[in-house]
Subunit: 155 residues, 2 copies
DNA sequence: CTTCGTGCAAAAACTTTGCAAATTG
DNA sequence: CAATTTGCAAAGTTTTTGCACGAAG
């Protein structure tokens, strides 16, 4: 399964293997394929979507939905991945060690766009400092209506 | 159910009634109590949590979990409420038109400091516009350790 | 009065678990 | 080889739906 020569992915994979080794768990094709798919695609996937995508991307690998769920839970418990959901869309997973980013979310269709803004992050630091806090993290979600849903609005 | 004299809530309620009337739906005790509970508590609730809370807060009103789900979907479809979830916790609902949520939160003692920053809000607008979104709201939480807890840190 | 809403229980959708066979270290 | 993982199917959960009765307009 090593089609990809990519330092970032290699690092992620090494991290995953380390987590597995620490818990005396095993590295399997199914686990690798799930990690790889989460890495290769920018979207956030539901377990079901991941399952369908993997089955079509790797027709030679047999993988059941239970394995998807078990692996996603494993990734989430080891903080390699996180899940989130907005609006009517179900829970979606993404890798956690992507460069830090925030989310712009369509309240109508649930579409998620990731973004990052250094100036905002700097201001957040300033606000924390001004209030005597040591900042350790943040969550920022912007809600709105995406271009597509604006157009499709009847009226 | 009109215990509360509160312009903000009155406005919300009027909005809800307007939405109902437009779709020829009816205003019921159950629907009012759900709106009121979402308004009165700062937390985000899962359907199940809301159900338990409402049953204990309003023991005289009989309300089934199906009604909670139906009403939350109604509120979400009419954009009066939104749902979201992070990590292992299930989906939680909150009113969409609450006043700002910008909070600085101490991870150690739970202390919450509210803040507002015009420059960040301006940047958020810019980000939404650049991505074709009409911005309707946002959530921003900064996590850290407050001055008091920094001092009291054992070690 | 007519229509919609409700609670209840059944159905559907989503997620986890038990088990025997297969794979990993 | 011993121990974990897998797919499958069954068991749990969560959410939605159908229906007859009650409430709202």
């Amino acid at each position: 399964m090593n089609f990809i020569q990519n330092l970032e992915y290699d690092h992620l994979l090494a991290e995953f293997k380390k987590v597995l080794k620490e818990s005396l768990l095993k590295f399997t094709k199914q686990r690798e394929v799930i990690l790889q798919t989460l890495y290769n695609f920018p979207e956030h996937f539901s377990p079901e979507e991941l399952h369908v995508l993997i089955k079509s991307s790797y027709p030679d690998i047999n993988i059941g939905i239970a394995t998807i769920y078990r692996t996603l839970n494993l990734l989430e418990n080891s903080t390699l991945a996180t899940s989130l959901s907005f609006g009517k869309a179900g829970k979606k997973y993404e890798l956690a060690n992507k460069p830090h980013h925030d989310h712009l979310i369509c309240k109508n269709c649930g579409k998620i766009i990731e973004f990052e803004d250094k100036k905002i992050e700097k201001k957040q630091e300033d606000i924390a400092t001004k209030n005597g806090f040591i900042l350790t993290g943040h969550v920022m979600q912007l809600y709105g209506i995406c271009a597509h849903c604006q157009k499709n609005k009847k009226g």
